[in-house]
């Protein structure tokens, strides 16, 4: 019951936040590039699997003077390992609201954020395994910072943006001990042998955790050049994501990514 209340609290919070903003600017963006994931999901492996692959992301940001609300979806496909090569598909949908306040230093903003994110790891090896799908779902409150600077180079204006965020308190959903279902999914009156009750059970089957149980560091920096009519923006971005859960069967994942960015500004 507590978990269900927490879930609805977080959902309502973000809904209110999304509606409360005054519209200032909108940006639709897309980037694609190369990514270097390293994953150790101890539900199904004892080792890190490092890989190289292709990444594609789409997103939408709504920015006011004080806040950024963003939706993003990341797709990453990579081959992993040197021997017994496996292939991994990582999906990371995320909704994030940041409330940022300007500091005395020009271009530097600090504040808090709230997000709902998911990492879905799909593994395909040279042979089939039963539990090749795994997930981490979170809803977090945390600290966020952003630094942006306009640089003039040969009469061209280049934007340099850097962002960093870290969660403090999260509602974390992970698979149950032996199967890719939540612990609650196994309880009487919740479990359904045909697995049709999976969705609701997953959502209500999480735990409230602090930084020592769940870390999701996000860092990105990049430069972009706006087009003459200020409608387009093109750029290059480096992004780093570090996700770690310290539950009974932990998951560690780092992703380095270098990508080309295309933005439509409105």
């Amino acid at each position: 019951m507590t978990n269900q209340l927490l879930f609805w609290f977080f959902t309502l919070t973000i809904t209110i936040n999304l509606d409360a903003q005054s519209k200032t600017s909108n940006a639709y963006w897309m980037n694609h590039g190369v990514a270097f994931p390293s994953t150790k999901e101890t539900h199904y492996t004892s080792k890190y699997r490092n890989g190289i692959g292709y990444t594609f992301q789409i997103g939408y940001d709504k920015q006011t003077s004080r806040s950024i609300t963003g939706l993003s979806f990341m797709f990453l496909y990579s081959s992993q390992g040197k021997k017994n090569i496996s292939y991994s598909t990582i999906l990371r949908p995320e909704v994030k609201y940041e409330f940022l306040k300007s500091t005395s230093r020009s271009g530097l903003k600090v504040g808090g954020y709230y997000d709902i994110g998911t990492v879905l790891n799909f593994r395909r090896g040279i042979w089939s395994i039963e539990n090749g799908i795994n997930y981490t779902i979170w809803s977090s409150l945390g600290f966020s910072t952003q630094y942006s600077k306009h640089i003039k180079y040969k009469e061209k204006c280049i934007d340099w943006n850097t962002e960093f965020s870290i969660p403090v308190l999260s509602y974390l959903i992970r698979p149950s001990y032996t199967f890719p279902y939540t612990d609650n999914y196994l309880e009487n009156e919740v479990f359904n042998f045909d697995r049709s009750g999976l969705g609701k059970s997953i959502i209500t089957g999480g735990k409230l955790v602090t930084l020592d149980k769940f870390i999701y560091l996000g860092f990105q920096t990049g430069v972009s050049i706006p087009s003459k009519n200020k409608f387009w923006e093109f750029g290059l971005r480096y992004s780093f994501k570090f996700t770690q859960t310290n539950e009974v069967k932990p998951m560690h994942q780092t992703i380095h990514e270098i990508s080309f960015l295309t933005k439509i500004l409105n």
Partner: protein, 328 residues
């Protein structure tokens, strides 16, 4: 200035935190493979208590076998032997070239010939659809052989057919059926019950200790619109494994049902798989089924009428197991 330093520090930390070196499998420490395998089994296998296995003693026994470097084949044999200690047909070890599985059929005499049933007992008047082979024996007995628990929806058509033909008895032959989807087994029970019926329980491992189990989860079968209220016989042999054993275990406690044949292969759980440090994949049973009377089926479901075919029976074109089932 401070924020600049902070940014540089963050970049450095982020790079180093992801530089976890992937171990080269050619230089894998073989002891680590054995140790990891032992630990994974220790923390995930469900039948230690039921099978009275002293798993702690196995650790040093198998680690001592890899004191010196050995070949990959030898390591595979050692790991397979360790898994074999559990005597569980669901467990496996896969190194990409070969798969080890415990043979639950050894020491059993298993003789079954579906061709003989088609030609002699069904007189070639049979139909095969979605892993089912069915027909009518002696004008009054409906016979179904189910090859594997997959695509079970056609079972509805077969029951409808038998009801139209007003058969007096149905024989569900699951000999040589190695299993499949347990959900299908539960669904098939619905044709033989009038009201929702608890047909068993599932229990999952939910912690690292041998005694860490989830609460019992009821498996309830729902009645179907087609209800067969006459006698049902389930014919089994040692190759009736996993979902077949579930089916036998679920049917065993229904009023109109009798089990005939040979003890089933067992297999009362499902395996979760895991990758070892050298890339091999191990599968270990991490949940288990109890029947409606809280009995394990892991070592097999024993029929009320036990009978088996000999080689001579098959050579002489006789299926004594089926004939006994017809007569009872």
């Amino acid at each position: 200035m401070k924020s600049k330093h902070l940014l540089i520090m963050t970049l450095i930390i982020s790079f180093f935190s992801s530089c976890t070196k992937e171990e080269d499998s050619t230089s894998e420490n073989m002891r680590e493979v054995v140790e990891t395998l032992w630990k994974y089994i220790d923390e995930n296998y469900v039948y230690f208590d039921y099978k009275s296995i002293n798993w702690e003693s196995k650790r040093s026994y198998y680690l001592n076998k890899v004191k010196d470097p050995i070949s990959e084949d030898s390591l595979f044999a050692i790991c397979s032997a360790m898994i074999g200690e559990l005597k569980d047909g669901h467990n496996f070890l896969n190194n990409g070239k070969k798969i080890y599985k415990y043979d639950y059929t050894k020491d059993f005499n298993i003789k079954f010939d579906l061709g003989l049933i088609k030609s002699k007992y069904l007189r070639s008047a049979f139909k095969s659809e979605d892993h089912f082979t069915y027909g009518i024996i002696n004008d009054t007995i409906g016979y179904i052989h189910y090859e594997k628990f997959k695509n079970g929806s056609y079972f509805n058509e077969i029951i409808r057919f038998f009801k139209e033909k007003e058969v007096k008895k149905i024989i569900i032959d699951i000999r040589d059926n190695r299993g499949g989807q347990a959900e299908i087994a539960q669904n098939m029970i619905g044709y033989f019950i009038e009201k929702p019926t608890i047909v068993g329980y599932i229990i999952h491992k939910n912690g690292v200790k041998h005694s860490n189990y989830s609460a019992k989860i009821e498996l309830k079968a729902e009645p179907k619109s087609l209800y067969f209220d006459k006698s049902v016989r389930v014919l089994t042999n040692r190759k009736s494994y996993s979902a077949s054993s579930y089916f036998a275990g679920m049917m065993n406690h229904l009023p109109n049902v009798k089990l005939v044949g040979q003890i089933t292969g067992g297999g009362g759980g499902a395996a979760a798989s895991f990758e070892l440090p050298n890339g091999w994949v191990v599968g270990i049973t991490s949940n288990f089924f109890l029947d409606a009377k809280n009995s394990h089926i892991e070592n097999g479901v024993k029929p009320i009428i036990e009978i088996e075919n000999s080689s001579a029976d098959i050579v002489n074109q006789q299926d004594k197991m089926l004939e006994t089932t017809i007569d009872n």
